[in-house]
Every structure is written in structure tokens, then in C-alpha cells.
């Protein structure tokens, strides 16, 4: 199986979908002549031409809205945000229009659009460029929210997102773009709404997504060394949540730790913890613990920023806590 970088897997997904469906096009800042701010769309302009790979001015709200309007009358736009931090100036379009037009029109219109781009704490970018907004978008009925953690999932999920008839918020962690992994060629589809059990285990359920998957897998090695057998679940889609897979796992392990890069208060883990508690409280042998970022804006300083993130140490500590181990 070919080994691709995460960004190449995304490129392959978009290119294959554009090849098979003329309604699909890519629009955003620097996606065409610059070959992508993060080189995700490298070579796509020369392959598909300026009709389908379109550079925009720095007008996120404007081109997000243009994408939605085009989707309402049947096209399938891929709108790239250079980073989801910039989606904040387009959030009216995403929340009020993309998510609601179908509902407010009594089902007369669909909005088959993908909003995709980088996200997360990527290294010395400071507070305005390090946002993790997945919990914001996951709260909105009408949106689908996807965060791939591996190159193979990046390809398979993006193909599903482009084929979805509903608006999809597709969040890529900036630090994963160079990450390499095996990616199936051609028709590789990963269904939306299905979590992936990355490592079966019996002692504790570790629930994570996106870049934190890597840290969680690293923590698992330490845990195994210490005689703990964790089950690791990569959510992949956070709305709709694959609650069934989570419940099945917790019923088996009776313990759960959620590892996420977003803020703790009203963060994604809070919602997931609530769903599990409501469903199988009696199965839990310990409170659900969360490893999230610290509750502060993201600092520029490298060491300070690193201290914000879920780390192997923090994960191991919380796992020991739910297992009542010192």
C-alpha cells in the first residue's frame, strides 16, 4: 500500500472526487496559484484549471457564503479555510446559513458543502491562530463535524464528506499535514459517524481524536509497560457521535478518559462524558476523567504552549486515577 503524507491523502481525496464529479470544486485563499498555504492543494490548479480551483480574496465570510449559495443550487463546493481560526469571521455563514437553510426551508434545499482547513495548536502561533473550534461546530444541529487522525482516514473521510448531501466541517490538525501512513489507492471510503477502535483493551477506554490520537497511542505504550491494557477509540466524527462504540467499550472496561486538545469548560469531552454517563452510569467504576488543554488563551512561548497540551504524563496520570493506582 502506498505511503502518503496526510496532506497528500487529502489532495488525493479531492482530486479523485473532482475527477468523478464536475460539481465538485475547490475555493479558498491561496488554493490555486500558491498551491495551497499548507500545500494541500498542490498541483490541483494545473490539473483542474482555474474554473474548478479558485483563489479568493481575503474574504472568509464572503466566499463561505458563495459556497453555500452554490451548494443550494446543486454544486458541491469544498471551501478551504487557511485555518479554522479564520472561520470565526465566517461563522455566521456556517451556522446561520449552511446549518439552517435546509430546516428553515422545510427540507426544500440541501447544502452539500465541505468546509475544510487546518486547526489546532501548531507551534508558536499564539492565541488567535491556535483555535480548536470543534466543540463550537459540534453543537450545531445540521452540521456534520469530522476530524481525521491518520492519513488513511483523511482520505476516506474527506471523500465521504464531499459525497455527503449535508454541510460538513472537516477539521485537519496543522501538525498532522506531514504525518505519513499507508493510504489505500482509489475508492477508499471511511463512513461518517463511525469511530475506530485503534487498540482493543480491557482496563480503560481512552477516547480521543485528531492530533491527540498520536499522544494517546504514545501514552498507551507506557501504560502497557506498567501492566495496564487500554482500549483506544479514535472518534473520527464528533457529530454525529458514534455513541454505540463508546458505550460498548465502557461496558467492557468500566472506565473512561477523554483526551482532547480543546478547552475543558464546555469542551467536547464534557458533552461526550455526559452522553456516556446518561447511558451507562451504573457501569462506571470511576468518574470519567478528561485531559484537555489548560483553560487559558494559547501563549506564544514554546514551553508554555506545550504545557497546554494533553501530554503522555497527563494521560497516564488520569488513567491511573480512574484505575485507583498510585
Amino acid at each position: 500500500m502506498p505511503v502518503l503524507a496526510f496532506r497528500e491523502a487529502l489532495n488525493q481525496a479531492m482530486s479523485e472526487e473532482m475527477e468523478r464529479d464536475d460539481r465538485v470544486f475547490l475555493m479558498g485563499e491561496e488554493v490555486a496559484e500558491y498551491d495551497g498555504a499548507y500545500k494541500v492543494s498542490q498541483g490541483m490548479l494545473s490539473r483542474f484549471g482555474p474554473r474548478r480551483v479558485i483563489d479568493t480574496p481575503i474574504s472568509e465570510e464572503g466566499f463561505a457564503g458563495i459556497g453555500i449559495g452554490a451548494a443550494m443550487v446543486g454544486l458541491r463546493p469544498i471551501i478551504e479555510f487557511m485555518t479554522f481560526s479564520f472561520s470565526l469571521v465566517a461563522i455566521d455563514q456556517i451556522v446561520n446559513n449552511a446549518a439552517n437553510v435546509r430546516y428553515m426551508s422545510g427540507g426544500q434545499f440541501a447544502v452539500p458543502i465541505v468546509f475544510r482547513g487546518s486547526s489546532g495548536m501548531a507551534g508558536c502561533l499564539a492565541a488567535t491562530h491556535s483555535h480548536r473550534l470543534e466543540a463550537w461546530y459540534a453543537q450545531i444541529p445540521g452540521l456534520t463535524v469530522v476530524l481525521p487522525g491518520t492519513p488513511a482516514d483523511a482520505k476516506g473521510l474527506l471523500k465521504s464528506a464531499i459525497r455527503s448531501d449535508d454541510p460538513v466541517v472537516f477539521i485537519e490538525h496543522e501538525n498532522l499535514y506531514g504525518e505519513k501512513g499507508e493510504v489505500p489507492e482509489g475508492e477508499h471510503i471511511v463512513p461518517i459517524g463511525k469511530a475506530d477502535i485503534k487498540r482493543p483493551g480491557s482496563d480503560v477506554t481512552l477516547i480521543t481524536y485528531s492530533r491527540s490520537l498520536k499522544t494517546t497511542l504514545a501514552a498507551a505504550e507506557r501504560l502497557v509497560d506498567e501492566g495496564i491494557d487500554p482500549e483506544i477509540i479514535d472518534l473520527r466524527t464528533i457529530r454525529p457521535l458514534d455513541i454505540e462504540t463508546l458505550i460498548n467499550s465502557v461496558v467492557k472496561t468500566h472506565r473512561a478518559v477523554i483526551i482532547e486538545e480543546d478547552w475543558p469548560y464546555c469542551g467536547l469531552g464534557a458533552g461526550i462524558s455526559d452522553r456516556i454517563t446518561q447511558a451507562v452510569f451504573d457501569e462506571l467504576d470511576a468518574p470519567i476523567r478528561r485531559v484537555a488543554s489548560k483553560d487559558a488563551p494559547i501563549p506564544y512561548n514554546r514551553a508554555m504552549e506545550a504545557s497546554m497540551l494533553p501530554s503522555v504524563d497527563r494521560i497516564v496520570a488520569q488513567v491511573k486515577d480512574v484505575l485507583y493506582k498510585k
Binding site: 470544486f25 474574504s59 464572503g62 458563495i66 449559495g69 435546509r102 422545510g106 426544500q108
Partner: protein, 336 residues
């Protein structure tokens, strides 16, 4: 008889003209009766009357083809009716019924009619201006020659998205026509208190190098003629236009607004030049209509609106389970 002349040479046949007059009468009657229904608490939420502005929608929509699109803001009843939506689903929507044009989920500000290319009533000021550019983008992408008309209020010009969308629409020569329904007030804030320039064509057309028109939007035939020129330009691939259509709303911004920020004399002056009255006189002067026909229209329109009220009142409420319907195309899984 009336001294008033429409400024445009007739761009319509007699039949079309009579249709436009009747449509304006229908919209006026719809709004007046709907307001009464609101006062009887049959209608809730925000309710923005279109009375006084009818020629803007009727004249411009009147020159569209069936396969064209239009989109507007929250003062949307008139546009829907002008595009041929029946009064029944419109009134039923106001009453929140399952038979409403948005199944009771949109209400007054969110009328939709996909079959007629009516892409909605949108209630975040300015937000739909980008959607219109997107619809036009899709038309051009497919190589079609349809157009999208986009209505907005004078207040919406002050939103950033207006300038973002117009810049891209102009740069990419998208087939969209922006029509400002300039009723002089952004809610209660007059144009003079919200716009650095009173000539909106400088901000909406000159700034983006596209044709700008500043016209009396209450002259239905001038509105039609101007819209047609802009639409033809868009169909020919020459890009967007901007029309500042001056008009006046008789009522407050919404039903809860007694409009104390403007003088009574200003309203009285507007009422004296009521566009429906004026157009009826124009058609009389052309010998295109007589009093008996006007009387017949009045009765027909009355009847049509009363029937719509009866239909709306007798329609079923949507079942409560329908809150989960029409959220997504894929089966919706509530995250509860």
C-alpha cells in the same frame, strides 16, 4: 384624472401591466390581513410589512424567466407572492402550519419556494448577499444564462459581507443583480445617520466598477425596465449591477415599531403617492383599465386572501416529532 406619469416607456403588454397591478393589490391585502391576524395572536415572532414597497418586487420579478433565481432578506412576503407563490402556503407559514411554504419552521422571515427558484427570506442582515453571489457562481460554473436577483435593505450595505460579495461578484462577472430596497430607514436609523454617503451607488457600484442605478423604485415600470437592463447584462456574461430603488415603507420596521423616529408628514406624503394608486391611474390614462376592472381585482384579491386565511386556520399543526425532520438529508441522529 391623475397627472402622474410613469417615467419609463411601457415595457409591458397590457395583460402584464394588469397582472402587476393585481399582484401589488394582492400583496397589500395580504399584508394588511396578516397584520390583523397577528393582532389576533394567530401569528407570532417578528413580522415585517412590505406595504408601500410593492413595485420594487413586482416590477423586477416581473421581468424574470421561470428558471431564474431570487433571494431576499426578512421582509419577504411580497417577493414570494410576486414570484407566484400562492397566498395559501404563505399565510399558512405565518400561522406556523404544516402546509406552510416552509412547513411552519421558517415563519414570516423565512419563506422558501424551491420550485419557483425562490431561495428564501433570510433574517441576518446582509448574510444572504453572499449566497446570491454563490447562486450566480453556480450559474456561471455550469455555463447557464440564468440570473439571480438579490434584494437587500439600505441598512445591509453597511455589513462587511456586502462588500466582500460585491467585490467577488464584480471581479468574476457573476450574473447577479443587487437591488437595494432603499426605504430610507435601517430599522429606526435613517440613511443619513448610517451611511457616510447618501448616494448608495457610489458605495455599491462605483466602488466595484459595475453599473449603478438610482431610481424611483415605486415606479413599477421603471423598476422593471431598469431590472431588465441589468438582467440582460448579466445574461450576456457582463456581470453584476447595483440598483438603488428608492421606496418607502408605510409601517414601522416590524409590527412592534410605531415608527416614532419619523415625522407624520413624511408618511402622509408617501401615502399621497401610493404606488398602487399611482399605477392604477397610469393604466387608466392609457385606457388599459377601467374602474370596473379595478373593482373586480379588489374583490378577487379580497377573496383570495380570505381563502388563504381559511386554509391556514384549518390546516394541521405540524406534529411535534417534526422538530427532528428536515435537519439533514442523511437520517438525522439527535445528539441527546
Amino acid at each position: 384624472m391623475s397627472q402622474v406619469q410613469t417615467e419609463a416607456k411601457p415595457v409591458v403588454t397590457r395583460n402584464q401591466a394588469l397582472g402587476w397591478l393585481r399582484q401589488m393589490m394582492l400583496i397589500r391585502r395580504f399584508e394588511e390581513r396578516a397584520e390583523m391576524m397577528y393582532q389576533k395572536q394567530k401569528i407570532g415572532g417578528f413580522f415585517h410589512q412590505y406595504s408601500g414597497q410593492e413595485p420594487v418586487a413586482v416590477g423586477s420579478i416581473g421581468i424574470l424567466r421561470e428558471d431564474d433565481y431570487l433571494i431576499t432578506a426578512y421582509r419577504d412576503h411580497g417577493h414570494a407572492l410576486a414570484r407566484g407563490m400562492e397566498a395559501k402556503p404563505a399565510m399558512a407559514e405565518l400561522l406556523g402550519k404544516a402546509t406552510g411554504c416552509s412547513k411552519g419552521k421558517g415563519g414570516s422571515m423565512h419563506f422558501f419556494d424551491a420550485e419557483k427558484g425562490f431561495l428564501g427570506g433570510h433574517a441576518i442582515v446582509g448574510s444572504h448577499i453572499a449566497l446570491a453571489a454563490g447562486v450566480a457562481f453556480a450559474i456561471k460554473y455550469r455555463g447557464g444564462d440564468q440570473v439571480c436577483l438579490c434584494y437587500l435593505g439600505d441598512g445591509a450595505i453597511n455589513q462587511g459581507v456586502f462588500h466582500e460579495a460585491l467585490n467577488m461578484a464584480a471581479m468574476w462577472k457573476l450574473p447577479v443583480v443587487y437591488i437595494v430596497e432603499n426605504n430610507q430607514y435601517a430599522m429606526g436609523t435613517s440613511l443619513a445617520r448610517s451611511s457616510a454617503l447618501l448616494d448608495l451607488t457610489i458605495r455599491g457600484a462605483t466602488a466595484y466598477g459595475i453599473p449603478g442605478y438610482s431610481i424611483n423604485g415605486n415606479d413599477v415600470e421603471l423598476m422593471a425596465e431598469t431590472a431588465l437592463e441589468a438582467v440582460n447584462r448579466a445574461r450576456a456574461g457582463e456581470g453584476p449591477s447595483f440598483i438603488d430603488a428608492q421606496t418607502y415603507r408605510y409601517k414601522g420596521h416590524s409590527i412592534s415599531d410605531p415608527a416614532k423616529y419619523r415625522l407624520k408628514e413624511e408618511l402622509d406624503e408617501a401615502l399621497k403617492n401610493d404606488p398602487i394608486f399611482v399605477y392604477a391611474n397610469v393604466l387608466r390614462d392609457r385606457n388599459w383599465i377601467d374602474d370596473a376592472t379595478i373593482e373586480r381585482f379588489t374583490e378577487e384579491v379580497k377573496q383570495e386572501i380570505e381563502e388563504s386565511i381559511e386554509f391556514a386556520e384549518q390546516s394541521e399543526q405540524p406534529p411535534l416529532e417534526a422538530v427532528y425532520e428536515d435537519v439533514t438529508v442523511a437520517p438525522f441522529i439527535p445528539q441527546e
